[in-house]
């Protein structure tokens, strides 16, 4: 791979042919790498758990008998394969049903904020002028209050507002707040990259050849600007899953008796030294496995999509 450093970088000439080859090439590269396949399988597994938790456990995570508290893992086939927590709730059931709030929240937040951030960043960096002024000011105003602090402020503000129950409603408030304060990072990086790229020759060339603004933005500027951002996305998802744990730790996340991985980690962190490490290790293990898969996939994606690194 070190010879990629000395290889002549390919210049994208005709946009149509180049992009089709790019995507096709990307797909070919992706599905040949073994680590990518493993990561994709793990991720698919967890998404499957999110969709059909009932297939993995017959116990109800919210039916907790205090007489059955703190049972150690009994292995598959027993009543409590992964044991129970301090309240007597089945750990496997909690893992299965708790995947939903955590993963769904992360996917929704990162997806939406990426979209908003990329679009606004492109517009600001490309058009400059008053568009840039407005967007940059908005970025600043939102940036001045940090993400977690904004989450604390807003979620504490709306603490007495109930939106009903059910998984989607449980995560609606945190999702809104985290998205509102999560897009600025992407926008700023994209804007900076666009500013760097807009003066480069191939952009000028594309414009001279008559390409429309949208085409130039998405076909020429974006693929080169996206590199630092794709490096961020998997860690952002991990960050949101972690942020959900922090919100649970601070008491402004999902409320009992509803369960999430964040709550399990937050409660389990205390008991790891009390002699019950399984209460922390199981949810943390799931979280790390998910994050790892996402990161591997993200890296592979970035490597495959970057035209200069092929």
């Amino acid at each position: 791979m070190s010879d990629a450093v000395t290889a002549v970088p390919e210049v994208a000439t005709s946009s149509d042919v180049a992009s089709r080859t790019l995507t096709a090439d990307a797909w070919r590269t992706l599905h040949r790498r073994p680590d990518t396949i493993v990561a994709a399988v793990i991720l698919a597994f967890f998404l499957f758990v999110v969709a059909f938790p009932g297939l993995f456990t017959s116990a109800d995570p919210q039916l907790c008998m205090i007489s059955q508290s703190k049972i150690r893992p009994q292995g598959f086939g027993a009543t409590h394969p992964f044991g129970t927590d301090a309240f007597g709730c089945d750990v496997l059931a909690q893992l299965a049903y708790g995947a939903r709030p955590s993963l769904l929240l992360a996917l929704v937040v990162v997806g939406v904020s990426l979209l908003i951030g990329v679009v606004l960043g492109l517009l600001a960096g490309y058009y400059l002028g008053w568009v840039d002024a407005v967007i940059s000011r908005s970025i600043e105003v939102f940036l001045v209050i940090p993400l977690l602090l904004a989450a604390l402020l807003l979620l504490s503000l709306f603490r007495n507002v109930s939106v009903g129950s059910g998984t989607f409603n449980d995560i609606l408030l945190p999702a809104t707040v985290l998205t509102m304060f999560g897009w600025m990072g992407y926008a700023r990086y994209i804007r900076a990259s666009v500013l760097e790229a807009r003066g480069l020759d191939y952009v000028t060339a594309a414009k001279v050849l008559g390409a429309s603004d949208v085409r130039v933005m998405f076909r020429h500027v974006l693929p080169n600007a996206i590199a630092p951002v794709t490096a961020l996305v998997p860690t952002s998802i991990a960050g949101i899953i972690g942020a959900e744990a922090v919100l649970a730790f601070l008491g402004i996340g999902v409320r009992p008796p509803a369960i999430s991985w964040g709550i399990m980690i937050s409660n389990g962190a205390e008991w790891v030294t009390g002699g019950y490490p399984h209460l922390l290790l199981f949810p943390l293990g799931c979280l790390i496995a998910t994050v790892l898969s996402l990161v591997v996939l993200g890296d592979a994606l970035r490597d495959a999509l970057d035209p200069r690194l092929r």
């Binding site: 402020l153 504490s156 972690g242 730790f249």
Partner: protein, 334 residues
């Protein structure tokens, strides 16, 4: 360049005003929705109407607009802005000056941030450069793996495990080995000690920094990789310059733009992590103060502290923008 700075400063003032207004609206709405914080004063007792009125007066919440949900309370807002312009940032519910609280709490948070930033830079630059230099090899993969693993750990897990499992044995060992009150014993003290602020903030800062360093590592790696494939690096190598010269003078410097951006951004971001760290390690800092104030609906304290924080953040952002423009001539546009 001068015009650029002047323009940025004017924009900053506007931003600040908008932030204070937004905060005021939010906190006023919070009181109107969540109930009067004066009621919490009485705890388990039931106050009479007169007693409640007296406490509201004492808290500065006597204005009837606080009882009407949706009322923007412009009167108190104007009073507050006028006071801020004169340097009076108000008092908390108990009558303690906000500036006093900030003066007492801010240094601890700044110390924490200092350690965190140093940790980020050290870990990020070293590991990121190493990973970029030997891209594709085992080192690269293991660095990436480690950074992801660390990133996946929520910071409170690191802190709780450190505090309950490691700090007591380490602290006792250090006391036996180096004596009570010695520097290593202070480093491993389970809680913050105001009498030795730098020594006892070191470990929490490093842990908090580690927890957030993965993004830095990846960022440094990604931007350096871009540089490696650039023309200027090929030229430098063709000229026969030694590899480490190429790395330090051509790769690192040119890949620093996103890193500088990140430093500016993370200053604001780190405050969130500071809330957790300060709470768990008992550091009297801005994060903890703000968190308690939000929960107690202490309007003056919340708005005052966030305003002061905003001023600092905006100043930092201006500095970052100027550094930006100084580092990369292509970015200076007028």
């Amino acid at each position: 360049m001068g015009r650029y700075i002047a323009r940025r400063c004017l924009q900053a003032v506007l931003t600040l005003f908008l932030v204070v207004f937004a905060l005021h609206l939010l906190t006023t709405l919070a009181i109107q929705l969540n109930g009067n914080p004066a009621l919490a004063f009485f705890g388990d007792r039931v106050p009479s109407a007169t007693q409640l009125a007296a406490v509201e007066q004492r808290y500065g919440l006597a204005d009837p607009c606080f009882d009407q949900p949706g009322n923007p309370c412009l009167g108190p807002f104007v009073d507050r802005v006028v006071a801020y312009a004169q340097g009076d940032f108000g008092t908390n519910l108990r009558g303690r000056d906000v500036t006093d609280i900030v003066v007492a709490a801010a240094p601890n948070t700044l110390r924490l941030f200092c350690i965190v930033t140093i940790t980020w830079l050290v870990v990020g630059m070293t590991l990121g450069s190493v990973a970029a230099r030997w891209r594709g090899k085992a080192v690269d993969h293991s660095v990436r793996l480690t950074s992801v693993l660390i990133d996946a750990f929520p910071v409170f897990v690191l802190l709780v495990v450190y505090r309950y499992v490691f700090s007591v044995p380490l602290s006792n060992w250090a006391e036996d080995r180096f004596g009570q009150g010695s520097l290593p014993a202070l480093w491993f003290r389970p809680s913050f000690d105001d009498a030795h602020p730098w020594a006892t903030v070191l470990v929490p800062g490093v842990l908090l920094g580690l927890a957030g360093s993965a993004a830095f590592v990846r960022l440094v790696r990604a931007s350096q990789l871009e540089c490696y494939s650039g023309e200027h690096v090929r030229t430098a190598r063709a000229k026969g310059l030694p590899e480490h010269h190429v790395i330090t003078h051509h790769v690192v410097r040119n890949s620093s733009v996103p890193v500088v951006t990140a430093v500016g951004l993370t200053f604001a971001d780190a405050l969130g992590g500071a809330v957790i760290t300060e709470g768990l390690m008992n550091i009297y800092g801005m994060g903890g103060v703000l968190w308690q104030a939000v929960r107690a609906s202490d309007v003056s304290l919340v708005v005052g502290v966030v305003t002061i924080l905003s001023i600092v953040t905006v100043v930092v952002m201006i500095v970052v923008d100027i550094a930006y423009a100084a580092l990369d001539p292509r970015i200076r546009y007028e």
